[in-house]
Amino acid sequence: MSVNIDIRVADRDVEVAFDVAAGETVAILGPNGAGKSTTLDVVGGLLRPDAGRVALDGDVLTGDGRWVAPHARRTALLAQDPLLFPHLSVLENVAFGPRSRGTGRRAARASAEQWLAEVDATELAGRRPAQLSGGQAQRVAIARALAADPRLLLLDEPMAALDIAVAPALRQLLRRVLAGRTAVVVTHHVLDALLLADRVVVLEGGRVVEQGPARDVLSRPRSSFAARFAGLNLVAGTATPDGVRRPDGSVLHGTPGDPAPAAGDEAVAVFRPSAVAVHREPPGGSPRNALVVRIDELEPHGDTLRVRAGDLAADVTLAAATELGLAPGTEVVFVVKATEVSVHAR
């Protein structure tokens, strides 16, 4: 299910082109009004672009004079507003997709119940949408989109309005269902982008300003928007009980993150540059990780200084940098507490 997107919507000044490989999840990031929802609408067939084309596995959905109706695209779109059908119960809402695809009443019901259980909303099955809280409605809408079993899943801010207690569970659910599925997810949250997406596309003012593998974009953002929330340190390796073993055999200690990896799994350790302390000598004390590195460059970042060494970055104040006499080529120790490092399954 690879997707080629190359579209233009003139009256919203949106002109976007990117591809999604088969089985890949792409996250779209960007400020309000950047054209994220517009892009999803066009791919889902809810909006006709002025020009360009959208192709799924080579089948042209839009463009070249062709037009495939939304229902025939098998692209489920979860919009920003949950828009549950007010006249159907929660269960009937979730069963709507399967029923529309011709699944029998009983099977559709069973699959709806299963998806409701997945989003932790089993007890809401008999309610009307008007009787749900905002976050509950959002969860049901997620279940409904997933139950439709689409070839391409389009999610527009699926995690907005979720309380922090459910969000991790849903993030894990999404990770599970997105694995091996072709999907496009709009999000404002860096962790969602990192954990759910293989690749990231950053939109600004209706144009793609940056795209690439999620790790690259998030660790070394080039666009100003991505830079504001990304710039993370990402260290890949295999999971150990208390951290990640790097290819060179050293272990980076951390605490298990949202999708906690089992020992031996592929994993990635994530920590913010601001959490990295820079020392001339390895210090004693609680921090578990002391990495000896050679500074590549120093770049000012607001009133702090970003110290780059290989893949890693540390943010320090100007005062500290002066005091320590940091300069490119200096050998230093990057120190980061294990509690600041979260280890996620890849």
């Binding site: 809810l46 109706a69 229902h71 692209t75 439709a148």
Partner: protein, 261 residues
């Protein structure tokens, strides 16, 4: 046990509303005071009355059905299509509304009568529509259709298309969207439209008498009977009219879905 969020109404609204209620109810109540109640049971259970009532209910039900079958698609097309030529088409649907019913009957004769546009063809096939029960149903459908179409189209436009879009993106084909989302969502409007059509059919007189004639058991519906009776026995006519009203209110009260008029 959902408790709806609720905003009060301005108090003054109740004054014109009550006035409107009185204006509608008072004449009917006055009518009831004119009835010789002693004769009432006998009058309304006479053969002629029962046969007319039976015919009225059957034809009105049939024409309401026909209005739904033809009118719902038309309303959907008018509300959802954006084609340019629909602007004028929309006005044409209003024609039977403004035509005095008797003229409507003449128009139906001009189309389907023996000497009408299609009539000769139909006659050749051995079909004679005018002056049959089918003609009654056609006359009622002709005058009632616009009521269904207009009120349903208003409801469809008010409801908008947001949920239709969601349903389509979940893989529902247009027919499924229509059946499971669009129409259920406008159920109050659809019910209002059907009620209007049924009521209009039940009270229909002019087009029926012109196009279908007035023959007991075949084409003489209750309004036609009332018209006839008025010539000979005004009291009986009034009693029969009251019967019509009661029956209509009962039927409508029984079939209307929750929350719809």
């Amino acid at each position: 046990m959902s408790r709806s969020r609720h905003v009060g109404l301005p108090r003054w609204v109740y004054l014109p509303a009550a006035l409107a209620g009185v204006f509608v109810v008072l004449p009917v109540a006055s009518l009831a005071t004119r009835i010789a109640w002693a004769d009432f049971p006998g009058l309304v259970t006479s053969d002629a009355a029962l046969s007319a009532l039976d015919l009225s209910l059957r034809t009105s039900a049939a024409s309401t059905l026909l209005c739904l079958v033809l009118g719902v698609p038309l309303a959907v097309v008018l509300a959802r299509s954006e084609a340019r030529w629909l602007g004028p088409a929309r006005s044409l649907v209003l024609l039977p509304l403004v035509l005095p019913p008797v003229v409507g009957g003449i128009a139906l004769l001009a189309a389907f009568g023996r000497k009408g546009l299609l009539g000769a063809q139909l006659e050749a096939w051995g079909i004679q529509i005018a002056f049959s029960t089918i003609a009654v149903v056609m006359a009622q459908t002709f005058v009632s259709l616009p009521f269904l179409v207009v009120s349903l189209e208003g409801a469809l436009r008010t409801a908008g298309e947001r949920y239709d879009v969601v349903a389509a993106s979940l893989g529902a084909a247009p027919t499924t969207v229509l059946r499971r989302v669009t129409l259920p969502l406008v159920l109050p409007g659809l019910a209002s439209g059907a009620v209007l059509a049924f009521a209009r059919s039940l009270g229909e007189f002019g087009a029926t008498v012109t196009f279908a004639g007035s023959l007991e058991g075949t084409t003489r519906t209750l309004p036609l009977l009332i018209y006839n009776l008025r010539v000979t026995d005004a009291d009986a006519a009034v009693a029969m009219a009251l019967l019509l009203v009661v029956v209509a209110v009962l039927v409508i009260g029984l079939v209307r879905p929750r929350g719809a008029l």
